[in-house]
């Protein structure tokens, strides 16, 4: 998503209007003597009101460095924009992220290179405020060089879509073109501007420049790891625009993973439930679950980054198996952290990982499940960060992982969207997927994000019931907090201590969830419901008998919700359900739990 910055806000009212129009960032002008200049007190008031809701950028031009630092601190902004002839040393010495304005001319690439740490704002070479626009394709070399580029100068609702398509910038910046009178923002023009930018960019370009989906996400890791996540973010920014990477991945998906996976019409289930049920068969992907999509993608990234050692965490073992598989495929060393409790429940997957050449570390700290495996993986990464690639298995963790894993899993929804259009001639009414960390659900949901007629339902582990305290329903009953590198809904007590989660499915007993799901929950774009262990176990048996497909316990949660939901849907409604994995790994546990029940 290309970000929208509305600059030159002079009042709290205008700031609220800009946010209501959908702006991601706001500019506060502290250049004395210019038309939209404000004082520190006013800047502070506006900034305080927008905290956590937009990126706040303070604009300066050739001001003394100490004054810039003082004003930026007092006003409480996130980023400092330098509009004059400030030197690279000046920019680097500021204790704030810097957005450096440079003219959009033939020397832009060289000029930007002198400010390696800053984001770049390309402005009309004739100077800002001319309203004339410029050749926006001049931004492309910088964008392709992997720089975060904003464009400004002569942008308005009429021409911004073309500019975005030409330059694919990180952000766009407008001020005077959005005003009804000098210094007064026009709500209708701001809305039209944001809408034009949104329409010109695919929805899944979110999050913002600091890794936030609304208030969720971010990068909450010890300093030791920050350069590593920054390096990964820069690598991914470049790779996701690189056709050669996607071509290589496409071939791996076809030849090795076995994609596209079928979208299967579940005829008997449909008959029984009165809705048209389509199952996206991720259980038929290599290794038996959607996790392989992400593992292959990230292993290719690790290889390109020159990292030979890969670490991963796993709960049910499906991500561990996928990571071990991808590492075997590309000749990388693989070590997997798994809670001791899970190594017992999923002994078969431990053996598969070892067979594939991975080393499995049984984690004995804390609750000995997925959350502790992730803690240990983060500790290992901090220790071996220079040589090691951390292959995170869900849309969780510090930025850029939630975005990176989503981008790699979006292949599920992209295929499903094309398949359902080919089969039914229209979009589905409902999408259903289970949510632990949330990668299979996000993979299905993301490509449908802009299709507002499609309802999205995420199904969480209700365990022994959400009132029992033994469950994994972070979105249903959790509260926002910071865990494993990002801000999202988590299961925690009043003191901020994280609970142990519980589920029949080792893949869903995680006390957190990917930040984009939290964003979807709060914005209402998706709804999230819990399903209990008992309901999931019933659905596990039901689908096995109804369709001859044994689902993973995780996917059985989605099936249970399908059965419950079908009664409330219109007859003949189209449902696409992501069957995220096959049930072989859970067969022994099911045998233990079902016992005599099946002997009839």
């Amino acid at each position: 998503m290309t970000l929208v910055k509305i600059c030159g806000l002079t009042s709290l009212d205008d700031a609220e209007l800009a946010l209501a129009a959908g702006a991601d960032a706001v500019g506060l002008n502290f250049v004395p003597g210019t038309p939209r200049a404000i004082d520190v007190a006013n800047g502070r008031a506006i900034s305080a009101a927008l905290a956590g809701r937009a990126v706040r950028i303070a604009v300066f031009r050739d001001a003394p460095r100490d004054e810039v630092e003082r004003i930026a601190r007092e006003a409480g902004v996130d980023v400092v924009q330098l509009h004059g002839s400030e030197s690279p040393e000046y920019a680097a010495s500021l204790p704030f992220p810097v957005l450096k304005v440079i003219p959009a001319d033939s020397r832009a690439l060289d000029t930007a290179a002198r400010y390696p740490e800053a984001d770049i704002l390309l402005d009309s070479p004739s100077g800002g405020g001319s309203g004339s626009g410029w050749n926006f394709a001049l931004a492309l070399p910088l964008v392709e060089a992997g720089r975060r580029v904003w464009i400004a100068g002569g942008l308005g609702p009429e021409n911004v879509a073309d500019a975005v398509k030409l330059a694919s910038p990180y952000g766009v910046d407008a001020s005077s073109a959005l005003e009804s009178a000098p210094g007064r923002k026009d709500p209708a023009r701001m809305r039209a501007f944001v809408a034009a930018v949104r329409a010109a960019t695919p929805a899944r370009e979110r999050p913002d420049l600091r890794g936030y989906f609304g208030r969720f996400g971010g990068r909450y890791v010890p300093e030791t790891l920050v350069p590593a996540v920054e390096e990964l973010a820069a690598t991914w920014e470049a790779l996701r625009r690189d056709p050669a990477f996607w071509n290589e991945l496409a071939e791996e998906r076809r030849a090795y993973i076995g994609r596209p996976t079928p979208l299967y019409f579940a005829a008997r289930a449909s008959q029984e439930l009165g809705v048209r049920v389509w199952l996206k068969r991720e259980d038929l992907a290599h290794t038996g679950a959607h996790k392989i999509n992400n593992a292959v993608g990230q292993a290719l990234i690790a290889k390109r980054m020159g990292k030979r050692r890969v670490i991963a965490e796993t709960g049910a073992g499906q991500h561990g198996v996928a990571a071990a598989t991808a590492c075997a495929r590309y000749g990388l060393d693989c070590e997997v952290f798994m809670g001791e409790e899970d190594t017992r429940r999923q002994a078969l997957n431990v053996f598969r990982m070892e067979l594939l050449g991975a080393k499995v570390h049984a984690v004995t700290s804390g609750s000995r499940t997925l959350k502790d495996a992730m803690n240990e993986a983060l500790r290992d990464w901090a220790t071996n960060v220079r040589s090691t690639y951390y292959l995170i298995g869900s849309v969780a963790g510090p930025h850029p992982y939630p975005m990176l894993v989503r981008d790699l899993q979006a292949v599920i929804g992209e295929e499903a969207r094309a398949q359902i259009l080919a089969e039914e001639g229209r979009l589905p009414d409902v999408l259903i997927a289970c949510v632990g960390g949330g990668s299979n659900a996000m993979g299905l949901f993301a490509p449908f994000h802009g299709d507002t007629s499609v309802r999205m339902i995420g199904v969480e582990a209700g365990g022994e019931g959400v009132g029992s305290g033994r469950h994994g329903a972070s979105l249903t009953v959790g509260t926002p907090g910071a865990l494993h590198g990002s801000y999202s809904y988590v299961l925690q007590d009043d003191e901020g201590q994280i609970f142990e989660a519980h589920s029949i499915s080792a893949g869903l007993d995680y006390p957190g969830v990917g930040p984009e799901h939290s964003f979807f929950k709060d914005s209402g774009r998706a709804e999230y419901v819990p399903v209990t262990d008992a309901e999931a176990l019933d659905a596990f048996v039901w689908l096995s008998r109804m369709e001859g497909i044994i689902p993973a316990f995780e996917s059985a949660h989605a099936i249970a919700e399908l059965r419950r939901r079908a009664a409330r849907l219109e007859r003949g409604a189209i449902v696409v359900l992501n069957l995220s994995g096959r049930g072989d790994k859970d067969a022994m546990e099911a045998k233990r739990l079902l016992g005599e029940r099946l002997a009839r």
Binding site: E69, G76, A92, L94, F96, P97, P222, R379, T383, Q497
Partner: protein, 268 residues
């Protein structure tokens, strides 16, 4: 002048490094922690870090992690820790720095924590899983209430980040000696001197080194190159190894006295 600045200035004027020690608040219980603080100060600790126990401390090695779990088993809370600081302030003026993880800070409230920490007499705050560019609100609240937000520089920090962190850190710059988590290590990294020098070049704020410093010999080694030496896990394991409270306090006190002698005699 803030107590941390005073303590570090005093050490500097005595031409020696400061000794900073870490204990987990509430391990084994809060009254032991209350007893320890003045004892450790008397034994030569210039600054004391008080760990706020967290269920998922990703920056800690096994020693401090387990000690956090012990404290949590007694349901040690941040409010209780602030009460403890208030009580300790009636008997001791030693600078106290709270050290913990973001989720506990958020649960308490960033603004509220800065205010209450200041009111209780805490001098500084370290949040181990928050890089300097995140939670501007917390930095601002700390600045407003005179709580010094200490930031960490790691061996992996780029030169640009080092400049910015050093500029934004208050009290001292916490130099993480190794890539990795807290915990005793047999040897200090060979490039520690260059790391400290790199930070020194860009700031006049004192630079204190932690992570892995566990013996008086190592403390003396660090004291020769940095403005302060931070010892955590080694002290925590002394406390944990003791059979009862009295011997825990005695053992911690004599260890800190040893460290203090080593630090004070390090520079000729």
């Amino acid at each position: 002048m803030n107590r941390i600045d005073q303590a570090l200035a005093r050490a500097r004027s005595e031409k020696r490094a400061a000794l900073i020690v870490f204990v987990t608040a509430g391990d084994p219980d809060l009254s032991t922690t209350a007893e320890l603080i003045p004892e450790l100060a008397a034994a030569g600790a210039d600054v004391i870090e008080l760990g706020i126990p967290h269920s998922d401390p990703i920056g800690e090695g096994p020693t401090i992690q387990v000690s956090s779990q012990r404290a949590l088993a007694r349901r040690t809370s941040l409010s209780q820790i602030l009460d403890l600081v208030r009580r300790v302030r009636t008997v001791s003026d030693v600078p106290l720095v709270l050290m913990g993880y973001l989720n506990n800070v958020l649960a308490y409230g960033e603004e509220r924590l800065a205010r209450d920490a200041s009111a209780s007499g805490a001098d500084g705050l370290i949040v181990a899983d928050v890089p300097f560019e995140e939670t501007a609100a917390l930095s601002r609240a700390c600045a407003e209430h005179g709580v010094q937000r200490v930031l960490l520089v790691a061996p992996t920090s780029t030169p640009e980040r080092t400049v910015r962190i050093a500029a934004a850190s208050r009290g001292f710059v916490y130099c993480v000696s190794v890539t990795g988590v807290t915990g005793a290590r047999r040897e200090l990294p060979a490039d520690l001197e260059q790391l400290v020098a790199r930070i020194r070049r860009v700031t006049t704020t004192p630079v204190c080194v932690g992570f892995g410093v566990s013996t008086p010999e190592q403390a003396a080694q660090v004291a020769r190159l940095a403005d302060g030496v931070i010892v955590g896990s080694a002290l925590v394991s002394r406390i944990d190894a003791a059979p009862d409270r009295d011997s825990a306090v005695r053992s911690a006190r004599s260890f800190v006295a040893e460290l203090s002698r080593a630090v004070r005699s390090a520079r000729p």
